[in-house]
Structures are given as structure tokens and as C-alpha cells.
């Protein structure tokens, strides 16, 4: 089936894959809100949501419905188009990152080699950085279009935080890239499956830095200054109501899920199940084991994200900037120099 010298079956396959990945991200993000409140309840010695459905499992649906039916307010003198564009961009950039993550190995289904990765481009990590750097726009445009001084200030606060921690994040990854010699997430995962150790063993400091920067990029506590509800007059989404507010908040949970998957792929072996030799298993079994491993690691990381949130207090703004510029960036540079020296002296 070729039209315009183009393989349309391939397009259909990728379209289905994209639809599945987006639905999974949405469902995971939905239940991450439930998990967040259950974890908070567990840590603060109370029950958490337990009214809607068994164990409160229908709580996310109830919350979603509530947001949908709330009155939608667009402030007067705000820029209507940009006001709507803000949350849309936040959601859009949150969805885009998942395109380069390898969710599993290649498997033969119905005579076709199906690849569980939307795009295996040779600059995979840079693509993620590209999308992350665009994530600032949703926040800034939303904050500015609200025509509210506090929203604008929160947007600027959030944007400068995102930019500062992006730097340290990139620097912490350079050391890892020196070891792998490739920017493709598929190649990095394969190297970890074939080699004996996951990258976290070679790059413990890099992992720690990347983890901290991910917390900051996802606006998670202790870096949640852009949305400090009570202390700093909420955040860039102060004027938003109804589902537009829902989009902003929901995009953050999607970001959290995706960045946990990225950490799992880069440092924890991706879809590599420990102590299991995947090449011994048949195609579909290996795929399922791989998915189980990847999602297990991701959910563990999400739990750690929540654990951090309900344990540590928030940073003050100057502490946040000092940590980013005077703490993390020099550490990342040091890590880079040491890794470079080790690579130079051992591998040649």
C-alpha cells in the first residue's frame, strides 16, 4: 500500500502506538493524583480519599467531573486567545516527550516487526531537552495573559527556575553521554541490557543531579514555588478555573510520569528486568516482562517523587537559585571532568 511513495501501514502502526501511549499517560497521570493523596495520607497518618468507590478508587473521576462542571471564568482585559493557548501548550508539551522513549523491545506481530518506540532518532535525549525547554511557554503565556500581577510574577519565577535547572540537568547528562557514546535512548537501553550494570552504578552523582533537576522541572516540592498556594498567592494559574486549571495541574502529573520513565530508561536499565535474560524468552513474553520492568521502575520513582513532596519543606527563592547555580552546576561540571578523565585513561 504505497501512495506518494510512502508506507501507509507504517503510519497506521505509529498512529496506534501514539494513541496507546497517550491514553496510558493520561490514565497513569489520573491515578497519580489518587496515589499522591493516598501517599500523603499514609505519610501524615490519615486515610486519604476513601469515599468514592472502593478504597476511593473513583476519586480521580469525581475530581475530573468536578473540574469539568465548574464555571469557566475568563478575566476581563485578559488576552482571550493567549489565555486559552497557555494550558493547551502545557498539555501539548507534556504529551510530546514520550515520543522517543523505548517502551519495549522490537516484537514480531502479524508478520511485521513492531517497534515499541514512536521514533528512534539518533538525538533522542536532545529531543527531550528541546521539548522540556518549550515547556516554559505554557506557564509564561498563561501567567501573562491572565492580566494579573501575581500571575505574571509567578510565571517569571517559574520560568527562571525551569531555565536554571535545565542547565544543571543538561550538564549532569553529558557525563552519562560520554560513557554511552550515543544519544539514542534505544542504544542506551540496549547497552545497559547487554552490559552487566545499569548506568546508575557508573554515574551515581549524575543520577542524583538528574533526579533533583527533574523534581525542579516538574515543579514538584521542594521546588514548587511556581504554585505555592497559600504562601505566594498561588501561582501562574491563579486566574484559571474549571478544566483549564485542570489542564495545568494534569500536565504536571503527565510530566512527572514521563520524567520518571526517562530516568528509568537512562539510569535504571529501561525495560531490562533484573536477573532475567530477555534473549531466552519468546518475543511476546519478553515484551510483557520488559513492560512490567519499565512500569515497575517508573512507579517506584513516582512514589519517591511523592515521598519527597510530603517529607521536605519548600525552598525559599534565593535558596533555590543558590542551589541551582552554586551547588548543582559546579557539581555537574566536576562529575563531567572526573568522568572525562576516567574515560580518557581507561578506554584508550
Amino acid at each position: 500500500m504505497t501512495l506518494l511513495a510512502f508506507d501507509w501501514a507504517f503510519t497506521v502502526e505509529k498512529a496506534i502506538l501514539i494513541a496507546v501511549i497517550i491514553s496510558i499517560s493520561l490514565v497513569v497521570a489520573m491515578y497519580a493524583t489518587y496515589a499522591e493523596r493516598k501517599v500523603a495520607g499514609f505519610i501524615q497518618d490519615r486515610r486519604g480519599p476513601n469515599r468514592a468507590g472502593p478504597f476511593g478508587l473513583l476519586q480521580p473521576l469525581a475530581d475530573g467531573l468536578k473540574l469539568f462542571f465548574k464555571e469557566e471564568v475568563i478575566p476581563t482585559h485578559s488576552n482571550k486567545f493567549l489565555f486559552i493557548l497557555g494550558p493547551s501548550l502545557a498539555m501539548f508539551t507534556a504529551m510530546m516527550t514520550s515520543a522517543v522513549i523505548p517502551w519495549g523491545g522490537k516484537v514480531e506481530l502479524g508478520g511485521r516487526m513492531v517497534d515499541l518506540q514512536v521514533a528512534d532518532i539518533n538525538i533522542g535525549i536532545l529531543y527531550i531537552f528541546g521539548v522540556v525547554s518549550l515547556g516554559v511557554y505554557g506557564m509564561m503565556i498563561g501567567g501573562w495573559a491572565s492580566n494579573n500581577k501575581f500571575s505574571l510574577m509567578a510565571a517569571l519565577r517559574g520560568a527562571s527556575q525551569a531555565i536554571s535547572y535545565e542547565l544543571a540537568m543538561g550538564l549532569s547528562l553529558i557525563a552519562l553521554l560520554m560513557l554511552t557514546g550515543s544519544l539514542s535512548l534505544r542504544t542506551i537501553t540496549d547497552q545497559q541490557i547487554q552490559g552487566n550494570w545499569w548506568n546508575i552504578v557508573y554515574q551515581p552523582l549524575g543520577f542524583l543531579l538528574f533526579f533533583i533537576c527533574s523534581l525542579a522541572e516538574c515543579n514538584r516540592a521542594p521546588f514548587d514555588l511556581p504554585e505555592a498556594e497559600s504562601e505566594l498567592n498561588m501561582g501562574y494559574h491563579q486566574e484559571y478555573s474549571s478544566m483549564k486549571l485542570g489542564f495545568f495541574l494534569f500536565a504536571e502529573y503527565i510530566n512527572m510520569f514521563i520524567s520518571c520513565t526517562v530516568i528509568a530508561t537512562l539510569f535504571l536499565g529501561g525495560y531490562d528486568m533484573p536477573f532475567v535474560d530477555e534473549s531466552q524468552l519468546s518475543g511476546v513474553t519478553a515484551l510483557l516482562v520488559g513492560l512490567l520492568a519499565l512500569f515497575g521502575k517508573t512507579f517506584l520513582l513516582i512514589f519517591i517523587f511523592m515521598w519527597v513532596r510530603w517529607t521536605l519543606p519548600r525552598f525559599r527563592y534565593d535558596q533555590l537559585m543558590n542551589l541551582g547555580w552554586k551547588g548543582l552546576i559546579p557539581l555537574a561540571l566536576l562529575n563531567m571532568v572526573i568522568t572525562g578523565a576516567v574515560v580518557l585513561f581507561t578506554m584508550k
Binding site: N122, G130, Y137, A155
Partner: protein, 166 residues
Amino acid sequence: MGITQLLFWLLTTLTLGSALMVIFSKNPVYSILWLIITFFAISGHYVLLNAQFLAIVNIIVYAGAIMVLFLFVVMLMNLNMPSSPLKNKWLMFAGVISGGSLLLVLVAALKDTEAMRNGILMQTGDIGLIHNLGKVLFKDYILPFEISSVLFLSAMIGAVVIGKKA
């Protein structure tokens, strides 16, 4: 018409159209958003030329970093009101002449270059891939590369010094 050509014309229209919208938008924030779309379309052209690294760096540096700074400045100065049209007729005249002569120089310089004569390699060629580009940069052009990094570093230090004074 193949899919590559179709994409090329689509991206070209998008690039030129959004570049024009940058100039014609009354609201500076809209101008910046159009400029971001222009950068995306140019990145699309890089992908067609099989230069994925250039494409993504263009997005990270220009769309992701520099335009955020532009947006910062525009939002903080609150340039939301339509700026008053340029009154001085001679200033407009001078602008048109200098812009036109720059265009003339660029066209004259690019008209006879090798690339224009040989046609452009679409989807082939691998100089734009990160592996080859890195080798070229760090082997053949190491001196210019280092000199430009020193230039960037001095500009950065200069900015910090000026910022501290104020």
C-alpha cells in the same frame, strides 16, 4: 510530487508566512510567538536535509532559550499597546534603503555558491548527523571553534560584570 517535496513546500510557506506575521503583528507577544513558529519551520527544513542535530539545537537554543528571554523582556516592559507609527519620513526611507542593500548583498553572495549550483542534497548526506558534525568541529575546525567559545565566555563574564555594577 514526492512526500519530501510536498513537505518542503509546506514548510517553506509556513516559514515565510510566519516570518511575515512577525513583522505585521501589532502585539509584540504575538510577534514572538510567530517567530517561534518560524524557528520550528526552519528546523523542519533541517530535518529534510537530514541534519537532525542542527534541527534540535535550533529549537533548544532559539525557540527554547533566546525567545524565552525575548518574552521575559516584552512581558516585563508591558509593550502590549500598539506602538505609535514611525513619524519621521526620512528614517523610514533610510531603513528601506539599508535593508534593501543588505538583501542585495546577500543575494549576490549566495547566487553563485557551490551549493546553489549542485542542487541541495535532500534526505541524503550525513554531515548533519551528530557523529560526523562532532568530528568535523573538533578535528578540522578546532581552532575557530575554541576561539568562538572564548568569545562567548568573555561575553558572559562581561554581562555578569555589567549586571553587578547596576
